[in-house]
């Protein structure tokens, strides 16, 4: 294999597809930390020139981790639709970009091609796309899913009610849920990151959230973002689980760092279908984020965009209700500043949709990254324009447990009212019945948690 180009008279040569992909990536501190990033801006573009000429079939033959060594690679490759793949195997990555952007290419056509894509192909084309390319192409693709309600319909924007509490106080979490509901946050899920991962504590919070949902007849689902083994044990003991959660990573070794495997997730998925109280058929909730494989020393010399795309390819196996990238959570050693966080958010959202999963984003940052609340508000607007399924809702964007900042309870209604978007339809009907929203706008009653003390 010969992979080289001239650029401004200088020859740039690359050893293999993995190196081309890594060096073609937008600048990320994680790739620099791994020692695989382009050494100059010119080399980055040279890698893209070469990448644009590589056929998709060759990308498939060169996964980040060999098929025989890695179950994530196997899950993705085994799921490829060979008929559709046969139609696109000769397309170059550059052809693929232009096909995605063409006015004659519809969302349905893209969804069909999604059945033949591996993570490396998805990441490859993403590297050739500008930010507005990513927004425009993602905007064409709608991926809808159903659990107790319907996510991902055109014109909707959902919000996870994320009522975390530093010590898992049932009263404190319930109060925070009320605050969020009063702003119209919670249509996608009432989802808690527990501080205590024990089965007893997790079950107690599942009971409480289920009780709130039943008492107020809320068309939504609950979820406790504990380790999947904890949730499985809670289900065995009869706790009311709405969605089953797990963080995923892009290689078998990185999955092991999270204490999970494909077989374990298969078992969890089967249990979800057997025990969840919700209607389904989509029961799973996954979180991801660029850099997790590297942080577990399980990236195999591949860049963080490739490893992220592989997660989406694997996640499709369990037909998730929702997947989101927790884009700025991991810290400055992977995404240094607001430029990198914004780019990664747009990339991940596009890649998830291109893979064919219901995709949202935890637009967020930590206090040691060079970013502010303004930056993630910007990202939320960009992603809303791209048709993002959902964001997080946290009191004033300040998570009381996880020590990071993300979007506020205020932001979903602000984005909806600014951009003409609506809550999920079942949930909007529920808010209208309670008099919290009218014609897509919050009413005078909204924003008052004590409204929910009335039942």
């Amino acid at each position: 294999m010969l992979l080289r180009t001239k650029l401004f008279g200088e020859t740039h040569e690359f050893a293999d597809v993995k190196e081309v992909l890594a060096k073609a990536n937008e600048e990320k501190s994680g790739d620099q930390q791994a020692g695989i990033a382009a050494r100059s801006a010119a080399e980055r573009v040279a890698a893209r020139l070469v990448l644009a000429e590589i056929p998709l079939g060759v990308i498939r033959q060169n996964p980040a981790v060999p098929y025989d060594e890695d179950e994530v690679t196997r899950v993705i490759d085994d799921a490829v639709n060979e008929t559709v793949f046969g139609e696109i195997t000769g397309w170059t990555v550059g052809d693929f970009r232009e096909w995605l952007l063409a006015d004659t290419t519809t969302g349905d056509m893209i969804r069909r091609v999604s059945t033949a894509l591996t993570g490396e192909m998805v990441a490859g084309v993403t590297k050739l796309m500008s930010n507005l390319d990513l927004i425009h192409a993602a905007g064409k693709i709608r991926v809808s899913a159903h659990c107790q309600n319907t996510i991902g319909l055109p014109g909707t924007l959902a919000s996870r009610n994320q009522p975390n509490h530093p010590t898992d106080s049932v009263d404190g979490i319930r109060a925070t849920i009320y605050e969020g509901l009063a702003y119209g946050s919670g249509d996608r899920v009432i989802g808690i990151n527990p501080s205590d991962d024990s089965v007893g504590s997790v079950s107690r919070l599942l009971e409480m959230t289920y009780d709130v949902i039943q008492r107020w007849q809320i068309p939504t689902q609950n979820c406790l973002l504990a380790h999947v083994t904890t949730q499985m044990e809670a289900m065995r003991r009869g706790a009311p689980v709405g969605l089953v959660f797990q963080s995923l990573a892009g290689s078998q070794k990185a999955m092991e760092a999270f204490g999970v495997s494909v077989a374990m997730m298969d078992e969890a998925y089967a249990m979800a279908q057997k025990y969840c109280w919700t209607a389904g058929p989509n029961y799973m909730y996954f979180e991801t984020g660029q850099g997790t494989a590297l942080s577990a020393d399980a990236h195999y010399g591949a860049d963080q965009l490739v490893m992220e795309a592989r997660i989406y390819g694997m996640a499709k196996r369990w037909k998730p209700f929702q997947v989101n990238t927790v884009v700025g959570f991991i810290g400055p050693e992977y995404l240094y500043d607001s430029v990198q966080i914004t780019r990664a958010g747009l990339e991940d959202h596009f890649m998830g949709k291109l893979t064919g999963i219901s995709m949202g984003c935890d637009a967020c940052y930590t206090n040691h990254a060079k970013a502010t609340q303004n930056d993630i508000e910007n990202l939320a607007v960009l992603l809303s324009a791209a048709g993002c399924n959902y964001f997080m809702g946290v009191p004033m964007g300040d998570d009381a447990m996880l020590s990071y900042q993300c979007t506020s309870y205020h932001d979903a209604p602000s984005l909806r009212q600014t951009l003409g978007l609506r809550p999920l339809p079942e949930f909007e009907g529920w808010m209208e019945d309670l008099g919290l929203i009218k014609d897509g706008r919050l009413t005078a009653r909204a924003g008052d948690a004590s409204f929910f003390l009335q039942r």
Partner: protein
């Protein structure tokens, strides 16, 4: 810094004062209630005085921003259940001015504080000597976590020379991303842990402090000390308004290649709305005993205790 009467500024001042429930806020020009907290001059007067109380004080933080709530007393009770920013109200769909500016203040102060160092007297109190990881400075520490997971050559030699070999429990303290976490909590949690481990009849190794420290350094430390269990008390990355949360990580016989899945963790140890350090010390002792009893930590320990309980 201008003393002219900007309408925007006045609106900010009025909003802040309204949040605080301070009397005389409608630009009356008169004194502003007890303590002379604030006075906003009338637009026509040339002697504007702005002298604001601190919006970060607990009572100011608890001020309700919701206009005409269904149940004011109930709302206050809801807000009292959590450190989350509840009851803030809204301006259209957006936050009100006072809560927006309080958020910006809280973010600002963590930005200013993140590069702190643990004072020598805090370490000296428990005879902790200091070693460093391979991260040369704070900037490299932030960008290269891999270097923060390895002891420097000098540190390795120092630990080998000064530490007891093969104890039941090796205690390490690391700055992590918040020196304030160690400064504010170590004096409370450390004696509880040491006392508890001694009562349990466990041998404790020679404790030390690690500068520019990441959690994974536990694996590297144990290559030198060969403890049954390594306990690392480390500063978490600062959250808004809580810049001093500590985590306690415990690993059974850590060694290179072991990950968080093989560790146990107690996080958010702080007196500012988390697990109290005294209480957390007791949890740590309990987890250490369980770990040594079952010979496993992390997911494996949870599996073992799930089947035996």
């Amino acid at each position: 810094m201008s003393t002219t009467n900007s309408p925007d500024l006045e609106a900010v001042v009025r909003a802040v004062l309204r949040e605080l429930g301070v009397a005389g806020t409608e630009a009356s020009g008169g004194p502003a209630g007890p303590g002379g907290a604030a006075t906003a001059g009338a637009p026509s007067s040339g002697d504007l005085v702005i002298d604001l109380p601190d919006p970060t004080l607990p009572e100011a933080r608890r001020a309700l921003g919701v206009v005409d709530p269904v149940d004011p007393e109930g709302l206050r009770n809801l807000c009292a259940t959590t450190t989350a920013r509840l009851g803030v109200g809204r301006a259209g769909p957006r936050p009100r001015t006072a809560s927006l500016l309080l958020f910006q203040a809280d973010h600002g102060v963590t930005q200013d504080a993140i590069y702190g160092e643990v004072p020598e007297d805090v370490k000296a109190r428990f005879d902790l000597f200091t070693v460093r990881t391979r991260a040369a400075d704070r900037a490299e520490y932030l960008l290269r976590p891999d270097l923060g997971r390895l002891l420097s050559d000098e540190a390795r030699a120092t630990v080998a020379e000064r530490c007891v070999h093969g104890p039941d429990v090796q205690i390490c303290v690391g700055d992590g991303l918040s020196a304030a976490a160690i400064e504010n909590n170590l004096a409370d949690i450390y004696p509880v842990i040491v006392q508890g481990l001694r009562s349990a009849g466990l041998s404790i190794g020679t404790p030390f402090f690690i500068e520019n420290c990441r959690v994974g350094v536990m694996n590297d430390v144990n290559r030198v000390v060969d403890a049954k269990l390594v306990l690392l008390l480390i500063g978490e990355r600062p959250g808004l308004g809580i810049a001093d949360a500590m985590s306690a990580y415990m690993g059974f016989h850590p060694e290179p290649g072991k990950t968080d899945a093989e560790r146990d963790l107690i996080c958010m140890i702080t007196t500012h709305g988390g697990t109290n350090p005294l209480e957390a010390g007791a949890f740590v002792v309990d987890l250490v005993r369980k770990t040594l009893q079952h010979g496993a930590s992390g997911v494996r320990l949870r599996e073992l205790t799930a089947t035996t309980s």
